[in-house]
């Protein structure tokens, strides 16, 4: 992978982290409301997967989708404005945090009812296959979503009709406060794919490069006509489920252990660890990502200055986004009605 790509990935990870932490602050200050589900800890998944995708591929996500949207290229401004419920938000303030959509960038929505992403993705893939187009559909979902009936129904249809869908499970081990061994008969989510003849693999979702590679080869198989593929990304969320959740059901040691594997540290570990302190890392057990990190530094693919510059850029982007959101006007009721009837056109109903 070239230097440019690597930098872009690191930048996206930094932006993701910064955007989310800022959203948390804006929530606390009352500028954002409703349910707010943040992504810190899981950045490697969104960044690795979406950098491996083509811009013509479709993306379907959940309520925890800000970062998928960002990495997909929706401007931070327009996402932040949406979180603020403003007119310049990507959904004009009608959808909010859990319902980001961007037609142009083929970001096909954040869905807040667990399990909805599956049939939507399969529908997009069906249309694509029917038109013999080369695009794939990337479907994000959590470990908890795997127990919803639509998972099963949709995977069966995707396999039966050999549809171009990449199922990406973000296994962060929790369905809100319920740990995976208490909600699923199998803790290895990828095993669920066996009932449908769908090739499946477990990937270290804290390792952005591994995520990237796995996605790339899965997408290649899909484009070659191999049908749906399934990737389980093992990852962790550092925060609670949403801003309403302190995450107290998790042992502190567990949270710490995963912080040590912070995906950001893959490329900048020695420079400036965002979460764990250097001592924490030193005292840590095996860190699956040290290898990568060292490899990258050894290859001299990045230096401290570059990272510093990136961070400043990212902070500026986020600051600008908040500023933009703040200044954007509230939508009026006539805009709500227009959104509802967006498709009516000249149709005479009565």
């Amino acid at each position: 992978m070239d230097r440019f790509m690597l930098h872009a990935m690191l930048q996206d990870m930094l932006l993701a982290r910064s955007f989310e932490e800022r959203a948390a602050r804006e929530y606390t200050e009352g500028n954002i409301a409703g349910f707010l589900h943040l992504y810190p800890g899981e950045e490697a998944v969104a960044v690795g997967v979406l950098h491996a995708a083509e811009s013509s591929d479709y993306v379907v996500s959940t309520y925890r989708e800000h970062v998928h949207a960002l990495v997909r290229g929706i401007p931070a401004r327009s996402i932040m404005a949406e979180l603020f419920g403003r007119r310049d938000g990507c959904c004009r303030g009608m959808g909010g945090s859990m319902h980001l959509f961007d037609r142009e960038r083929r970001f096909m929505g954040g869905y807040a009812i667990v399990g909805e992403t599956f049939p939507v993705a399969v529908g997009l893939a069906y249309a694509t296959a029917m038109r013999s187009q080369p695009e794939a559909v990337i479907c994000f979902f959590g470990d908890g979503a795997v127990n919803q009936g639509t998972f099963h129904e949709s995977l069966n249809m995707a396999a039966l009709w050999n549809l171009p869908v990449l199922f990406v499970c973000e296994n962060n081990h929790y369905q809100i406060g319920t740990e995976i061994h208490r909600h699923s008969a199998v803790s290895d989510v990828f095993k669920r794919a066996c009932g449908y003849r769908i090739p499946a693999e477990k990937i270290n979702g804290m390792d952005v490069l591994r995520v990237y590679e796995a996605t790339q080869s899965a997408l290649q198989r899909i484009r070659e006509g191999a049908g749906p593929q399934f990737l389980e990304m093992e990852t962790y969320r550092f925060r609670g489920h949403s801003m309403a959740d302190a995450g107290n059901y998790r042992p502190q040691v567990e949270v710490e252990a995963y912080r040590r594997m912070d995906p950001l540290s893959i490329v900048e570990k020695a420079e400036q660890p965002l979460y764990p302190s250097a001592e924490n890392i030193a005292s840590a057990g095996p860190d699956t990502i040290n290898g990568f990190s060292e490899h990258l530094r050894a290859e001299q693919l990045i230096n401290a200055d570059e990272i510093e510059q990136m961070k400043q850029q990212v902070e500026q982007t986020v600051e600008d986004a908040v500023d933009f959101a703040r200044r954007s006007p509230e939508p009026g009721m006539e805009e709500a009605l227009a959104a509802l009837d967006c498709n009516r056109g000249q149709e005479v109903l009565i």
Partner: protein
């Protein structure tokens, strides 16, 4: 140019014509393909258009309806058949929380040219789980439209209109109407999709029905004529939106209104019609708006009880007679 045919054939023709005209139209549902559809509505289309455009699905209502939603996001025009309305309870998330809400939630970015067809109503001894009515549930959903064709002509018109519309539309077809005969005139000017029609003009009372009940109301009107009562019969044709103007004009003339439905009366489709007309025509009514619909019980398997649980032409006529004979008795829930 009118041609006699069955209701199911009119639907079949509408599908065939729209599929021929626009290759983004495709059908999916259980046994719609090779088998030809449980009520023959999709007969012949699999052979003509192939498996991708007439897709037999597994028994996965929630997801294949959701599949339709996904495909509609990128300008396909899916026509989902839910084998019967009874199974639509499994697909309501896709219909209510997805199809109806995505255009709005996305701030108007996404069309939803989705049609969901479902045969329903009380047929013949299909028992409680297969006699579910769902109109009341779907009516309360902003963003949806609902067509309820009662005739061969309307079945053809409304299905074609639904397929061409960019909004999500539910077609509630009645299981007992599929094999009813009527005229189809392809050259006639189409009535707008949600306009109500006066099926029979009259002076003394307005009887409002939809789907099979509109036909029974016409039969009832014939019975009433024998007893010297002139009933005006309105077929709503659509349950969302409802053509209030046609209803109000009629009630302003007759000063009496009976709403007939196959839904259970309590919180059924007729509640909206009655509540709205009682309000809009308050100063014109000589008697309360009354509802005549299904008994408040699950549908019994036993045939006599089944018949007794929903309106018949006779029971409609009887309810109308009581209503025009002022003051009416209270609480008529057949």
């Amino acid at each position: 140019m009118a041609q006699e045919m069955f209701y199911y054939q009119a639907l079949n023709r509408a599908l065939d014509e729209e599929m021929a005209a626009d290759d983004s139209v495709f059908i999916l549902g259980e046994d719609v393909g090779l088998y030809g559809g449980s009520y023959r509505v999709t007969e012949g289309l699999y052979a003509r258009y192939g498996e991708w455009r007439v897709r037999d699905t597994p028994i996965s209502e929630g997801s294949f309806t959701g599949l339709g939603v996904g495909a509609a996001l990128i300008d396909m025009r899916p026509v989902v058949e839910i084998m019967t309305v009874n199974f639509a309870l499994l697909a309501l998330d896709a219909i209510i929380n997805m199809a109806a809400k995505i255009p709005f939630m996305s701030g108007g970015q996404f069309p939803m040219p989705l049609v969901v067809r479902m045969p329903g109503g009380v047929a013949r001894q299909l028992a409680a789980q297969h006699s579910q009515r769902l109109e009341h549930t779907l009516m309360n959903v902003p963003g949806l439209r609902i067509a309820v064709p009662a005739t061969v002509q309307d079945a053809w018109w409304q299905l074609k209109q639904a397929i061409r519309s960019e909004e999500p539309i539910i077609m509630l077809e009645h299981e007992l109407l599929y094999f009813s005969k009527g005229e189809l005139d392809e050259t006639a000017d189409a009535i707008p999709m949600h306009r109500a029609v006066v099926r029979r003009p009259g002076e003394d009372i307005t009887i409002i029905g939809y789907s099979r009940m509109a036909l029974l109301a016409e039969e009832a009107a014939a019975l009433l004529a024998e007893s010297g009562i002139s009933a005006e019969v309105i077929d709503l044709r659509s349950l969302r939106p409802i053509d209030w103007a046609t209803c109000i004009a009629s009630v302003q003339k007759t000063h009496h209104c009976l709403v007939v439905e196959e839904d259970c009366v309590f919180a059924g489709a007729g509640a909206e019609v009655a509540a709205k007309l009682a309000e809009a025509c308050f100063y014109e009514l000589d008697a309360p708006v009354q509802r005549h619909g299904a008994l408040d019980i699950p549908t019994p398997y036993n045939r006599s009880l089944e018949i007794a649980s929903i309106p018949t032409a006779e029971s409609i006529a009887e309810a109308a007679r009581r209503l025009v004979a002022e003051p009416p008795a209270a609480g008529d829930e057949k």
